[in-house]
Symmetry: C2
Subunit: 366 residues, 2 copies
């Protein structure tokens, strides 16, 4: 792609990201009035203030635009998807014991420190306080996600049937899928490595990430067409497109967890290895490893006490054994599949932007 | 009240409790199809199966009946309130480190044991697994609560405006209040005892318990009248009635935490003392205590390592110092205030049942 065209498209995506972020901030300021001053409100507001890349929101808006809808009507749904994604991250960070997110301490870590500073709590008590705070902050944000979806009811041209469908879909099917994926992420490390089917990893990625992307594509189409039928051809195509993008995104995440730059990423790396996460990178490399390499990997794999140098060595080994390349190729295959679902749509700016966004899923370095 | 009349009323309340519980079970069986087989689904289903007293659901149905509505239409809303209450208990049990609930191990405790048995995890790892499971089980149940409210849309005679109002009210205002109350419960023990205002305790009880009861009263009236205005006189009166019932309920909870029978209660007692909870019972007793008594209480208060015998001694002291009696009198005052809000309604069976239910809030032993 030519550099000047790329720049125009980048700006168009950036404008959508800002539009949703502005909307989230404005609503959050109103919603925060329901909370008392203090740690809980500070935690939720600060999390919302430091939003992420907003990829799901952009998929949703562009899916609305692609079917000829007015993207502005879909802004509350895009904001809801970001808030929904946000609470899953907050709870996920507790579960994964991650210390950094979006270039800052995770909520449970931030308030562990605060409890130590402010009240001089002992380490286990301060940790417990951090966990409590993060559980509750995630719970508050879950409510905001529902309220944001309800705001669609105030948009003329979005029928109550579409809104109700989206609320139920997000809170029942999508949420269940995400939670199942989260559980698999917690449970798979308990299984013997040899018992693991590669399918189980892809299924987990589909659940943890693909489901919410699918929702974004489907919701954009349904709002754009003002059609409460989730199985219209456009809704199904955009759901499938977005779901594949999500899996490609997650594969790139697993790649960056090994070869990424922690400073650029804004979050900790290496925890996939020390937590023994069953990622495509890790399991492919373990399959390819000779006896000695396998022993070296297994010393670090699932060992939360591993020294930083050991973790670095394990990362190099995962690269050498082709785990990173294998995951990259798989991501490219999902991207290609995703783009196939756009074929049926005539050329348009939203379509160009969706292609660009899909390519970004595997080009990104953060 | 005559014994035979009491029995008729008890049966009428029991029938409502069963109706809601049956509805919850039927919907849960359908919702569970969205989850994979395994610990997460087992945990949520088992929690739903062993429902609580269903007091909020009964308040909601009877409020609907009191304004002349068809209680059957309000069943999904009553079920939603119970599911919503349920997830707050699951997360609250993690926060309070409680081991028993409804006569069974709490979810985090049950799956800590399972992880130990099934995978031989070390104690900290098994604990972490129990926490993860309980966080996610609560998250799943949050989604079910939203879906149950959406089921109202399938009831003829309930307008989409009423449903949307209830979804937003529950997820924004009520949820924020509950989470604030939960935070206060976690933070107040960090404050110096002398800095504590009695108002702060009542405010916390209003938030932790009163808000959801208020929602139950208001929602029942709004569905019964099919009126989306939450400030209609009936909705306001039933909201106020129910909120006062909730505070009376919570005060009785604090009383039972000291004088209750653990076996009858089905949950642990004594944790209010060892966690240093700022309850009306505890703070009143501390205010009344002489120097020596205060020292004895403070040895146990907020001391999670206190021996069982010390906890028992502290319980006796709380009684001697009048903390239990003071909380009982306060509960009776809230009950009286609650009943005053029913004055404007003409006599009816729902009214008699609401009076009976209100009296139960402070008579109950479990």
């Amino acid at each position: 792609m030519q550099a000047d065209k790329r720049q125009i498209l980048d700006e168009a995506l950036g404008a959508r990201r800002s539009r949703v972020q502005d909307y989230v901030r404005a609503r959050a300021a109103a919603y925060a009035g329901c909370l008392a001053e203090g740690h809980l409100r500070d935690a939720v507001m600060s999390f919302v203030e430091h939003g992420g890349k907003g990829l799901r929101a952009q998929v949703l808006l562009l899916s609305c635009g692609l079917v000829g809808g007015n993207e502005e009507l879909a802004v509350p749904a895009a904001a809801a998807v970001e808030a929904f994604h946000g609470w899953t991250l907050i709870h996920d960070d507790i579960i994964d014991r991650d210390l950094r997110r979006r270039g800052r301490p995770t909520i449970h870590e931030e308030y562990r420190r605060q409890a130590e500073r402010q009240w001089g709590l002992s380490d286990p008590e301060a940790r417990h306080y951090g966990h409590c705070l993060a559980i509750l902050a995630g719970d508050v944000l879950q409510g905001w996600a529902v309220s944001l979806l309800c705001e669609l009811n105030r948009k003329p041209g979005v029928s109550p049937e579409v809104v109700t469908y989206l609320i139920e879909d997000l809170n029942l099917r999508i949420r269940s899928g995400l939670m199942d994926g989260e559980m698999a992420d917690v449970e798979l490390p308990q299984l013997s490595l040899d018992a693991l089917q590669p399918d189980a990893i892809i299924r987990m990625m589909h659940q943890k990430t693909g489901y919410l992307y699918e929702f974004a594509g489907r919701a954009g189409a349904m709002v754009g067409l003002n059609n409460a039928d989730p199985s219209s051809p456009a809704a199904e195509a955009l759901s499938s497109f977005a779901g594949r993008c999500g899996i490609a995104f997650q594969l790139q995440d697993d790649v960056l967890a090994v070869v990424g730059n922690e400073r650029v990423l804004g979050k900790s790396t290496g925890s996939d290895i020390t937590l023994g996460k069953r990622t495509v990178v890790n399991t492919y490399a373990l399959e390819q490893a000779g006896e000695a390499q396998r022993r070296r990997l297994l010393r670090v794999f699932g060992n939360r006490q591993a020294a930083p140098a050991e973790v670095e060595e394990a990362k190099s080994l995962l690269k050498e054994l082709g785990g990173v390349e294998y995951a990259r190729n798989l991501a490219a295959a999902y991207l290609k599949e995703a783009l196939g679902f756009l074929d049926a749509f005539p050329p348009s700016q939203p379509k160009e932007l969706l292609v660009l966004l899909a390519e970004y899923m595997i080009d990104r370095q953060s």
